[in-house]
């Protein structure tokens, strides 16, 4: 029963984060939000009894994607004022 | 037509008669026109003198082969039409070589002379001759139209294109003539006749006082003589054509001479009354009244 309640909370959190990621003006906030989204997604995967997928999502989704985003963002901001 | 030789003799005889009658007729008509204008006019035998004068000229110049052949084409056009025209209905000897062709042949033979004159004048090199020829041709095309319409309506009426049948169908009194049975066609035909004769309303091409503009600009001496002989023959043959088509043909020489005189007189009569047309006027005139008459002729056979 508690499982369902936590799931509901998680889902509301992930939706809020997704909206922030998409709507927010500042890019940095958006990228962090998308990282958090994929983090919550890996937790949901755990709840759905899919450990493999949770690990992948965590490692690749929140880890590497966010890093790549920051690298690219960093470079673009450097180039625009450089 | 037991043998060609006799036929040839009679045709030559017929040609001689027609030539003389043509010259006399021209003389008479000039006399009448003069009288209408209160002038004495030149004597009736004046055309003979013209011919003799022209043929007796010693010098003549030529601008090339085609110039030389021009009048020849013209004359052979006139004589050719005569050869294929049956003069006297019913008589074996006076139907010349009409066994070789029918109305269509005569209709298209008229072009033979036209072509010759055009090419000869062209060769002459003088610009005015070319102007004259182009005027003559444009006028001629529109003259042909009502004539063709009339001939087609006659062909429909008599179900035949050969002269002998048409004339045969018109025998037996005035009421059988085409003039009576098919007045519209006759009207169209006779209006076209005005054009073919080249008298006053449509004589811009060969008008006497416009010699420098007309096609025979450069022609002189024997060439002009040949042209004048052809003119005489052509007028008679044209009127014989119209006689056969519309006025019941001729059963004897006297009837032929009388009818051709009256037909020819019709064109002179109109010529005296009306002034000369310009080319555009004559072309558009022919496309108005005669054309409508021709069309009606076909519709109401």
């Amino acid at each position: 029963m508690i499982l369902n309640i936590t799931a509901v909370f998680l889902c509301i959190a992930i939706l809020v984060m997704a909206v922030i990621a998409v709507i927010h003006k500042k890019l940095v906030i958006a990228i962090i939000a998308s990282g958090v989204v994929s983090l919550f997604a890996s937790i949901i995967f755990l709840l759905l009894a899919a450990p493999d997928v949770a690990m992948t999502e965590a490692a690749i989704g929140s880890g590497l994607t966010t890093i790549i985003f920051f690298y690219v963002l960093n470079k673009i901001r450097k180039e625009s004022n450089g | 037509m037991d043998n060609i030789a006799i036929k040839l003799l009679f045709t030559l005889l017929g040609l001689f008669i027609v030539l003389n009658w043509g010259l006399i007729q021209a003389g008479i008509m000039n006399k009448i026109v003069a009288r209408v204008g209160k002038r004495i006019g030149m004597p009736v035998y004046q055309p003979y003198f013209n011919l003799i004068k022209l043929y007796s000229k010693r010098t003549s110049i030529t601008h090339g082969v085609m110039f030389y052949l021009g009048p020849l084409f013209r004359l052979s056009g006139g004589v050719g039409m005569f050869l294929f025209m049956p003069l006297i209905f019913g008589s074996e000897y006076w139907s010349n070589f009409s066994f070789a062709g029918d109305v269509v042949l005569i209709l298209y033979f008229q072009f033979f002379g036209m072509l010759g004159m055009a090419l000869g004048a062209g060769e002459g090199g003088h610009p005015y001759s070319a102007i004259g020829v182009s005027r003559g041709l444009s006028q001629w095309t529109t003259i042909e139209l009502p004539l063709t319409l009339a001939i087609i309506s006659i062909a429909i009426q008599y179900h035949s294109l050969s002269f002998t049948d048409i004339v045969a169908a018109q025998q037996g009194g005035i009421t059988h003539w085409t003039m009576w049975t098919n007045p519209l066609a006759t009207a169209a035909g006779m209006l076209a006749f005005l054009g073919t004769m080249g008298h006053s309303p449509f004589d811009l091409v060969k008008a006497p006082n416009e010699i420098p503009i007309g096609p025979p600009t450069e022609y002189h001496s024997t060439f002009l003589g040949v042209l004048r002989t052809n003119a005489a023959i052509l007028h008679v043959v044209e009127s014989v054509l119209f006689m056969n088509l519309f006025f019941g043909g001729a059963t004897s020489w006297f009837e032929l001479i009388l009818k051709t005189f009256l037909i020819y007189f019709w064109s002179v009569f109109v010529g005296v009354v009306f002034p000369r047309f310009r080319i555009e006027q004559s072309v558009s005139w022919f496309l108005k009244v005669p054309l409508i008459l021709g069309i009606l002729a076909i519709i109401f056979i």
């Binding site: - | 043929y55 010693r58 010098t59 110049i61 030529t62 601008h63 082969v65 085609m66 030389y68 052949l69 009048p71 020849l72 052979s76 050719g80 294929f84 070589f97 066994f99 070789a100 062709g101 029918d102 269509v104 042949l105 298209y108 072009f111 033979f112 036209m114 072509l115 055009a118 090419l119 062209g122 090199g125 003088h126 610009p127 005015y128 070319a130 020829v133 182009s134 005027r135 041709l137 444009s138 001629w140 095309t141 139209l145 063709t148 319409l149 087609i152 429909i156 294109l161 050969s162 010699i211 420098p212 450069e218 002189h220 024997t222 310009r278 080319i279 555009e280 072309v283 021709g294 069309i295």
Partner: protein, 1041 residues
Amino acid sequence: MVAPIYIITIPLGIAFLIGVLGKSNKNIGGMFMLIALACMSFVSAQWFISFMTSTQSPVYIYTAGFKPPFSINLLMGLNEAFFTLIINIATLLGAIYLYNNLKKQGTNAMSVFLGFAMALNVMVMTRDIFNLYVFLEIASVATAGLIILEQGLKSTSAGFKYMIATGIISSILLIGIIFAYNYSGTLNIDGLIEANIGILKGGAIAIFLILIAIVLELKPFPANGWALDVYQGADSGIGAMISAASASASLYVLYKLFAIAGESWYPVIAVLGIITFIASNLFGLKQTNSKRLLGYSSIGQIGLLITVLGLSPYLGDKFEFIAVTLLISHYLAKAILFWISGIVKAENIKNWSNLRKKPLLVALFGTAVFLLLGFPPFPSFFGKWELVMQLANSGQFAWMTAILVGSFFEGIYLFRWFGYTLKLDNKELPEYKMKLNKIIPPAIFGVAAYILGYYSGTFVDAAKGLDYIPLLFIAFIALINFLPAWVKNSISLTGVILYIAVIFPEFDGDLLRQIFAAIFLGGAVLALFAGFYSKGKRSGFHVVTLAMFAGLAMLLKADNLLEIFYAWELMTIGSYFLLIRGKKSMPHGYSYMMFSLGGSYALIFGFALAFVSFGNLDLQSLSGITIYPTLAYSLMLLGFMTKTASFGLHIWLPGAHGEAVVDIHFMASAILLKAGVFGIILVLLGMGTEASYAKYILYTLGWIGAISALIGNIAASFQESAKRLLAWSSIGQLGYIVFGLALMSHLGWMAGIFYTATHFLYKGVLFLTIGGIALKLGTPYMYRMGGLIKKMPFSFIAVLIAIITLSGIPPLVGFAGKWLFYNAIISQGLYFQGIVVLFSGIVAFLYLFRLIYSVFLGQLKDEHRNVKELPLCLLIPIYILIIAIMIISARPDFILKPIGNYLLAYFPSGALNWNGTMASTGLGYWDGYWVMIIVGVMFTLLFGWLLILNSKSKKVKQFNMVYAGEKPFRPETTHMSYNMFSGYNKALGFFMMPGVTGFWNWMSDILHDTANYFRRIYSGNGQSYAIHIIAYIIIIYLIVF
């Protein structure tokens, strides 16, 4: 037989290996790549051959050693072998083409290319739907990578738009797959087919998502903005790969997944395809960028293939043949076109005239254009024919019209483009050199097109009768194109004479074909003989002339509708190339092609109706068409009348013939127009007169003939250029013939056929002489000529005789035609049409006089003082024709009697009855022989008389014109040929307003404006393309559910 799995493992292994080689030794990497691609092609070729020859059954390949539902399996059947083969060959040749680009980018790019090739193969072979998704994703990633092979803003933005679009499409596919799995429980395609989840609402939507994703992959109309940018942005070599290889792979995937969808999907797919086909071809009209135009055309062709897939229930067993031929033609043509655009690198289609610097490229470009449009020697001709026939068979006339209209649009912009290439000048365009690896792939595909064309011909049973000897002879002549003109001329002349000897006996029974054979092939000999006048190489001329004459000969030999259509199209190609040779002939050649293209489509529609109503293709099917007979017959007549340039369809003739060189002018007018007449004869024989609709059609045909006769002759008399004058006069004469045939009576047909023969004779004389003179003097304008009688007496006599015949003056043969017409009109009762025809006959006299006066008579110009007589090689054919005219004039019954007997079979009543040389009908009589003799004798007598009278007239110099008014001093002032019949023009001028040209220009303007208005949809913004994709899915969803 090598296991098909190697098709996948070899490229993968080598792709990984090349990575190791690193940047240093790129050549070795390149070599490895080519070897890998070669092995792949070898394996698929081996399988394909074994499938085609032996009865090899399809082979399932189980990965991971387990049966299908539990693991992924690949299938290697006939279809898979075929598709993998064409993909591997395309990628192999593409790799050779792109070798330098790939080498420049290093080994990474090579492994990406190998990945691309492998992914396409697996897409074709896999039977597992998720596996299909993965490899579809690989293919799109690899394509995205290859697009940016040529670094640049254009390619990067195109690549990004591609990424967005394929990203959305593949996610939708993934959703569809997942829900399909959820409902059916299996990921295997065969399992999905059995599970038939279509009955469930959700399942049906899952299938909808899968299929719509695959359709989107094939760039359907509203949602393909991104695809066009890719074609424009990417390097041409990559464009070739996308349009040839990946398009065929996705097409096969759609075909494969279709089994899941079930029946209700066929109409939907067909509608999507036809919208894409027509819309993209329509937009192509306004396109000037060459690569983007190729993009439009390839999307259009894919649309056509989708439509064919959608219509497969109507196409019965012929479906595979049609799909394969159309696919092969698209595949070969697009690859060639993209590769050529890669070599010539001209952005705007106008400066593709740069192509002419390398004749091989022009030949390839021509092959690709004709291959795309379905012209004879190529497979698409048979494909399109079978498509139309099968569609007609199942009554789908709306679909037929849509397909034909779409391919007509395609014809418009392709031929305009081809016209630019052939005619626009290319002096200042940049020089380019043709590297070997860039020219081999298109060359191979060009040759393959011809071979496959022949091969696909063997499948169509109606095409068995086609003999390919003339085509081989033409190929041989094409090879020796470098020899001087006279060598080629003599070879082709002997070839034609031999061919006449071979095929003439075939027609001995059938007089009609004998006359036409005499005109076509006799004309060919005369034209080729006249061809000796030209010095220099005249490259390409002989190939094209022989193609035209081969087409004409085949037209006569044809005994079924396919062969007629084959011959007709072949003749159109040949004549197009002939007409386009003139200096300023590009617009006219283009309008000629448009009319003949429209005409041939009308023709194929009519043939389809005939085929359906009769059941088989032989000539009897033309008689008694039961389905929409009026439409069928009028379409067929329209098709044939485009060639006889009758009223309304005549605007191409004056320009095209006006610009043609002398012997081409002769061929085009005297011979080519007769092909149309032969066609009309066939149709009218089939139609007969008793049917209700027949009367109506014949009446309109009669009026068309009459009006074109009138228009032709009146217009001719106002022309300034001699060649245009003759062109207009041919329109007039053809109007005569069409009118004669429309009378459908014994005399009418006698007149028509007699006119066709005599027209060939005297018009031949006119074309050769006037053409020769125009060539000698360098100008076709009559007011610059004059007085040539002194310099060219022989040509004057020839033209004089031709004029006398044409105007129908008695002694010569023209009069016979006029006389026949007179009798036919009166006996048939069509008086008013008759009057118009006879009047136009008289009007003909005007322009004939103008022609002979302004060319030969009048004053000789100063600059023409030293002009010599026409070359002998022109005079001989002219005098052969003159002699023929004289013989027929003397004894017209040599021709009239056989024609009479022949026509008795079709029109028993109203025949000419002969006694001796006198022909007589119900109305009048006429004796050609006696008329000739009488006129001859009279003429000589009078001539003798005139000579006696006037033997001493002496010749005078040019300006000695004393007998009339003032004396002109310069030749120009004495030449009155400019605006000659001005009086006549004022009276009848109103009649000559260019109404018809205005009409056709108005039509093409509408087409171009709609194209310009609608193509605004591609706004260039990647995001709006994504919106189009989503909107497209929703619209289709709403329609389907």
